[in-house]
Symmetry: C3
Subunit: 144 residues, 3 copies
């Protein structure tokens, strides 16, 4: 059994989903593990991870609408914590409602994502940010 | 250290929770690992995983009421994405708010679920579907 | 590759976040694994796990306000399940919206938490409770 670690940086363009499926699968599947478990860790509390439908851009727009209604940006002193602006506290709440970590099994050298599943980094701040993810893979390297 | 993989199919009867505790524990505990980590991966974006109270059916009904109010089915062009009907986009949002993956430690040959914890597949579509879960177990087989 | 298991008990003071970062990191980092994966499992359905900003107490107060508005305590027969009081069903719903499990990679002998990330047990009941967490660590012990 072996382990591998990797660190990736994602430049976001402000609020919204950034597809990371190719980057994550690419690295994990390059390690040549027949069977294993990949863990993705997001090192932030105002960005998070999400598995979502990977085909229709409308899904992403509807999802963003939903979160915008559910966790409105600040106004009328809605939140105590506004140090970094009206999107600061909403970003923490959105992160609490989604994922900081995902662990995806590897089978037959591939991540077991379903056909319609994409992996996304969800940026919750309105301004662009540089985000850092840690990838950890444990498993059995395939015989050459 | 060894790994095991397994694939299970669940037939759902439309929106609601399907108990999978017995099926998941049954497989995992049969592998004879004294200590380990079981990961469950749901290969869908309109169904998800949930740990919930396993005793009262009222909990499930109240939970479903809550999600129905929080994420109403489509009407008045609430969502852009309605390709598969009024429950299509709400299903994606419900999945985003719950889990696609769960990892449960194994100790003394058993999953460490609390007394009142059940593991559920949460079907978010109104029609019955066939859902696929991948189980991955890593750990140390017990000496015979 | 080796595994370690540990069980911790947390005394909560009723609804709110309890910081467990030091306790969790302390145990995990004491095991002397250079690289690994730590999994935390919460054995309850009315308390859960959360990664949140670890600097400002205002974040915790705003987060609690948000959940209190989103999942109001019982009244006017809002919920069927009220066996243990008006905070019973809301606690189950809050747990469903947050995490029962977290898996955090270990790199260079340390958990890869971001600078502002704290790990919390989120007590959702209004009365104090004793809560139980299981920690599972898998990885490679460092050479002495």
């Amino acid at each position: 059994m072996e382990q591998r670690l990797h660190r990736i940086e994602i430049e976001t363009r402000g609020r919204g989903l950034v597809a990371i499926t190719d980057q994550v699968c690419g690295w994990a599947e390059c390690q040549g593990f027949a069977t294993g478990l990949l863990t993705i860790w997001c090192r932030h509390t105002s960005a998070s991870l999400l598995v979502q439908e990977n085909a229709s851009p409308d899904v992403q727009a509807d999802l963003e609408d939903f979160f915008r209604r559910l966790v409105p940006d600040s106004g009328n002193s809605r939140y105590r914590h506004e140090d970094e602006g009206p999107d600061d506290m909403p970003a923490h709440i959105r992160a609490a409602l989604t994922q900081t970590q995902l662990s995806i099994p590897v089978a037959d050298r591939r991540l077991v994502l379903g056909t319609w599943q994409g992996v996304y980094l969800y940026e919750h701040r309105t301004n662009p940010h540089r985000r850092e993810l840690i990838l950890h893979l444990i498993g059995e390297p395939s015989p050459k």
